[in-house]
């Protein structure tokens, strides 16, 4: 399940579009999350991972070809947990 108005890179306005100062409130979206898990999952997907972690790990482990963390795509968006 995804938030009703999910923020995604595709839904963001292009950076060159200038918004009027007083338009910002109207442009805000209200996200609705049915569960705490869904909210936290969304927060995790939006969290920016500092590049410095990779640099430090590469320094600590010179032989490892450590690549940037994969972004969370639609396939990893929140879905209800199967009953177990």
């Amino acid at each position: 399940m995804k938030p009703k108005n999910p923020k995604s890179s595709s839904s963001k306005p292009p950076s060159e579009v200038q918004l009027k100062p007083d338009a910002s409130q109207e442009m805000q979206q209200v996200l609705t999350f049915e569960t705490v898990e869904e909210l936290l999952s969304y927060d995790r997907s939006e969290t920016v991972i500092p590049e410095r972690i990779i640099r430090k790990l590469r320094h600590a482990m010179p032989g490892q070809d450590i690549l940037p963390i994969k972004p969370m795509g639609a396939e990893t968006a929140w879905k209800p947990r199967a009953k177990d």
Binding site: V36, L40, R44, E46, P50, I53, Q64, D84
Partner: protein
Amino acid sequence: MSQENPASSQPPGSATAASPPSAPNDFATIYQEHGRQVYYVALRMLGDPAQAEDATHDVFVKVYRNLDRFRGESCIRTWLYRITMNHCQNLLKSWQHRNIHSNADDAIWETSVGPEESPLEVLETQELGGRIQKTLDVLPVEYRKLLLLVADQELSYEQIAQITEQSVDAVRGKLHRARKAFAQHFRTTS
């Protein structure tokens, strides 16, 4: 690098033989696939991006050093979460964290009644993360851990029970109270 009880980062059943062929041993892949979860848990457990960065680095150094002893009896994700949770909890203890909850504090949360069933609405701003952090900060560490784990839908309740070393029934009961407490406090942060 902070110190941690080495036993807490030992893979389950790590005392004996070498890794089986099925055990993941590509460190770079493990970081790429699980780094986000580790950083996010560290960030929300510790509440500080710089500390979370250091903690993520330290966790993966531990993983690297112990990877040859991971036998694949548990999911690698479970193992990573256990290391991360132990590491963060040790840091919180060593800082003698500012929000120390007594049993009495826990009792307040456990008896509180919140509108847990209604949706959580958020006006999208950059403050969302701040509101979540503020909410988590006032919850008991036990609730914080469980909520962060259950937000990863790839983890089953059994795996959460394994990571937090308690029964599945205990996990379910505490999660019920944790969700209530979170929802109740989250609304006050708007």
